[in-house]
């Protein structure tokens, strides 16, 4: 069993700068070694697989036999939450995503994200004021003091989860995010048990809240998911639970990295930071370029083939595991001119940072707005900010990649 490739991708030594490895990978658009996954690293191949109906997001299809494809899809053990729509295929995926979208985005809730702007602004201001009040400007941890609490508070408000409970579900969220990170050395049963326990505890916690919202619905998404009754009917309790768990975890783990990677990059490119300080509207193209250049989700490790699929001359057999290396595709010179350059003036920027196809990031409009606001406000208010540690200390996770801490200093904080 040789899984050298897999080991290299998750090797922590590559975390601070995985891009040379990706460049190496792209020499073979579809690599495969031993009984490991098929690793797809080039832009056009990834893009086409993301739009290919022969690719499944449902782990049940791994090494599946043809017979059960049209047969009934009986559930796993009922001891934990059922898979969220992230790990489902149509039609279940489509139905749940549609129902989740009703209270969140157009056409039924076109203003939801936009209307949160003032609230988001208030949170950002409060957090930066908080940093100022500590009086310690020679060592600020932008992760702990800003990039983490901001999106977490936002997702709690959006869902209607008491912010005070955050320390409890933070542990569950971390465990679940870590379970996304493939680790060939970990004991799979032990790891599986750990994440199952975390899912169950989170599920029970959310079940209590949903129960309560059914009795006293509010304007939050949890209430709406619990009580919704649109053309697709209502969600079952289990569906509402796994959907809200998904939103909570995704809202927890990704925007933090987008903001942190963003500040890190801006501090490495002071001229761009200066431009943003003078023109907050530049945050829009900057965030797009960041999603290409340093995407918070580096790869999608959970696709499987329903049929033999030929990609770039390689036949990926039915039932194989496929890893889509989004961050590598984003730096593919066949797609982007001078891809290793951070260039917010790039015109043609159809990146893979938020995925593409039916599973493209559900929270994208919110994530974009949060990151735009956060970066433009940090740029505006921090006086002469500088990195104290470059590269910073990264988190273990190779899928959800980002610094664990981002130590910076500044001369002052503007009002």
């Amino acid at each position: 069993m040789s899984q050298a490739l897999l080991r290299e991708i998750i090797d922590y030594a590559n975390r601070a700068n995985p891009y040379p490895l990706y460049e190496e990978l792209r020499k073979t658009p579809v690599s495969h070694d031993g009984d490991g996954p098929y690793v797809v690293s080039t832009y056009y191949e990834i893009h086409s697989l993301l739009h290919d109906p022969r690719i499944s997001s449902d782990a049940k299809n791994l090494k599946a036999t043809g017979d059960d494809l049209l047969g009934d899809q009986s559930d796993e053990e009922g001891t934990t939450l059922p898979p969220s729509f992230l790990k489902l295929d149509p039609p279940d995926h489509d139905r749940l995503r549609r129902m989740t979208n009703r209270p969140f985005g157009p056409p039924h809730a076109p203003h939801r994200v936009h209307d949160m702007r003032d609230e988001l602004g208030g949170l950002v201001t409060g957090l930066i004021d908080g940093i100022r009040e500590t009086g310690q400007l020679d060592r600020i941890d932008l992760v702990d003091q800003f990039a983490y609490p901001f999106p977490v508070t936002v997702i709690c408000r959006l869902l209607g989860i008491p912010r005070e409970d955050e320390p409890r579900f933070h542990v569950w969220a971390e465990t679940l995010a870590a379970s996304l990170d493939p680790d060939p050395d970990a004991d799979p049963t032990k790891r599986g048990k750990g994440s199952m326990d975390a899912r169950m505890e989170l599920g029970m916690y959310l079940a209590g809240l949903i129960e309560e919202r059914r009795k006293n619905p509010g304007d939050d998404m949890l209430s709406q998911l619990a009580t919704a009754d649109g053309p697709d009917g209502a969600m079952t309790t289990m569906e509402a639970l796994s959907t809200s768990a998904l939103l909570l975890i995704a809202g927890h783990e990704t925007t933090v990295n987008l903001i942190t990677n963003g500040m890190l990059t801006l501090l490495r490119f002071p001229d761009v930071l200066q431009r943003l300080r003078e023109d907050p509207d530049l945050a829009v193209p900057i965030v797009e370029e960041l999603l290409r250049y340093e995407p918070p989700v580096q790869l999608l490790p959970q696709r499987t083939t329903l049929s033999d699929v030929e990609v770039a001359g390689v036949t990926i057999p039915k039932g194989a595991s496929v890893w889509l290396m989004l961050a590598s595709g984003n730096r593919d010179p066949k797609r982007f001119e001078d891809p290793d350059r951070f260039d917010p003036d790039r015109k043609d920027i159809q990146h893979l940072g938020l995925g593409s196809g039916i599973h493209s990031c559900f929270g994208a409009p919110l994530a974009r707005q949060e990151a735009q606001l956060a970066l433009s406000e940090l740029a505006r208010r921090l006086e002469n900010p500088r990195l104290l540690e470059d590269p910073p200390q990264y988190r273990q996770n190779s899928v959800l990649r980002g610094p664990r801490h981002l130590q910076v200093a500044c001369d002052g904080i503007r009002g």
């Binding site: 086409s48 739009h51 290919d52 109906p53 022969r54 690719i55 499944s56 449902d58 043809g66 494809l69 049209l70 295929d89 149509p90 039609p91 489509d94 329903l306 049929s307 033999d308 699929v309 196809g357 039916i358």
Partner: protein, 467 residues
């Protein structure tokens, strides 16, 4: 100068000071003009259009405009760039002198060209009885004026609307009427709506959509005559099954006719099926010889397509007009070695009864159909069409995200039935069934794609070589 063509500088001169005339100042005409300027054409550019308006967009006319969500005179096409043209609007071209390279206009003017682009499109097929067609309350829908007139008639709250023909446009009109809460009857000669374009299997789904939305759908019937009241307003229609429908608005939606009459006698290969051209958009003359200075694009063109057996295709597709215009404009200003073929894969969209319909490829060529994803009953599906063991087209209802995949399959001449499984494959997708297109020799409401090549089996022609 680039390319391996004649290096005598004539192309340079054409680009710098040539005269280019575009007849048909709408979607294809405008996009071609923009491309020409983009390519550095600095000579004189004349845009001739018989409508008095600057180029506008037609798809909203049967959708947003009829719903009252958009105003007909606010559908002007966005400009990609300034084109600095001499606009001759409200004047039709009435003739072409190929030898003298001159276009004659309805007001007696003549315009000379070095290169001519014809993009005169199609017009709505009128009600065959002109007197009945002239009754007040009888409409067709092709132009901005048509759209505005019909929207006003609908806003006035007629007791019943009759739509004759259940193609895409007719179905969209019926959908808009229902959304406005108006009673509507649809009369269709075929067995179902959309059969000409998508076949009977999909037609049955479309029929359900009509029924569920409260449309009074009559299929397998023809409207034989329209009846007016003493004041000249339409009041009823008589059907071939002996029934009568009382309606105060009637929309004739019987497909389109190519605007080629003005070319009669010019020697250009233009007729009721459109203007034949090669894959590079160069028009043929009546002898089948390709011209080098006359190009065609958009709904009026019929061109051979390598992917579809070099059949001549006439497309009434928005995207085709844009792509073909771009290719024509490029080729008009290129040496022969630099010319590009127009090999656009036909693609079409429609929206009706809240459902988004899209297709790629040439469905009417298909003999079989297979539902690969989703289900017809849920009206959320993808289906592919097969022709002689090949995938030749695909259609989606509320499932267009997968269409690019099928397009790519069609482009790579993938086998039919498809040998792969997909997500959301249902039992009904286990076996292909006949696609159930009506006999193509029987006219329907207009399929939006016409296969207009003669088959060698047709034996319609006699061969009489010249002296």
């Amino acid at each position: 100068m680039t390319g391996a063509g004649t290096h005598d500088g004539s192309l340079e001169r054409l680009k710098r000071e040539g005269r280019i005339v575009v007849v048909g100042a709408s979607l294809a005409g405008l996009r071609a003009a923009e491309t020409m300027r983009d390519k550095g054409f600095t000579g004189s550019l004349t845009m001739i259009g018989d409508e008095p308006y600057e180029p506008y967009d037609r798809p909203p006319l049967s959708k947003q405009v009829l719903l009252g969500n958009a105003v007909a005179d606010h559908t002007a096409l966005p400009r990609r760039r300034a084109i600095d043209a001499d606009w001759r609007l409200g004047v039709p071209a009435t003739g072409l002198d190929m030898g003298a390279r001159r276009v004659r206009l309805g007001n007696g003017d003549e315009v000379e060209y070095d290169r001519l682009l014809i993009a005169t499109g199609v017009r709505a097929r009128p009600w065959p009885n002109p007197e009945e067609g002239a009754l007040k309350g009888v409409f067709v829908l092709r132009t901005r004026d048509d759209g505005e007139g019909l929207q006003r008639a609908l806003a006035a709250g007629p007791r019943r609307v009759l739509v004759i023909g259940a193609g895409f446009t007719g179905s969209e009109i019926a959908s808009a009427c229902r959304e406005r809460g108006l009673d509507v009857t649809v009369a269709e000669r075929g067995d179902a709506p959309l059969v000409g374009a998508l076949g009977g299997v999909i037609g049955a789904v479309a029929a359900e959509m009509h029924h569920e939305n409260g449309v009074d759908l009559r299929t397998g019937v023809m409207v034989t005559s329209l009846e007016g009241d003493p004041s000249g307003r339409v009041r009823a229609a008589h059907l071939s099954d002996g029934s009568t429908v009382e309606a105060d608005v009637v929309v004739v939606s019987l497909g389109a006719q190519r605007n080629t009459e003005w070319l009669a006698g010019s020697g250009l290969g233009a007729g009721p099926r459109g203007i034949a051209c090669d894959a590079g958009c160069r028009a043929f003359d009546v002898r089948g010889i390709v011209t080098d200075d006359i190009y065609v694009a958009g709904d009026v063109a019929r061109s051979p397509h390598a992917l579809f057996g070099y059949q001549f295709l006439s497309l009434e597709h928005w995207g085709n007009a844009v792509a073909q215009a771009d290719t024509a404009a490029h080729n008009m200003l290129s040496e022969s070695a630099d010319r590009r073929p127009h090999l656009w894969v036909p693609a079409f969209w429609s929206s009706q009864f809240g459902v988004n319909i899209k297709s790629v490829g040439v469905p009417p060529m298909g003999t079989e159909i297979l539902v690969t994803q989703g289900s017809l009953a849920e009206r959320r599906f993808a289906a592919v069409y097969g022709y002689q063991g090949r995938m030749i087209a695909a259609v989606t209802f509320d499932n267009c995200r997968w269409l690019p995949f099928y397009e790519q399959q069609i482009e790579s001449t993938a086998p039919f039935p498809p040998p792969f499984s997909t997500v959301d494959r249902r039992p009904e997708g286990a076996k292909p069934q006949p696609a159930d297109f009506p006999d193509p020799s029987v006219p329907t409401h207009g399929p939006t794609i016409t296969l207009s090549g003669y088959s060698p089996a047709d034996r319609k022609m006699t061969f009489t070589p010249g002296r």
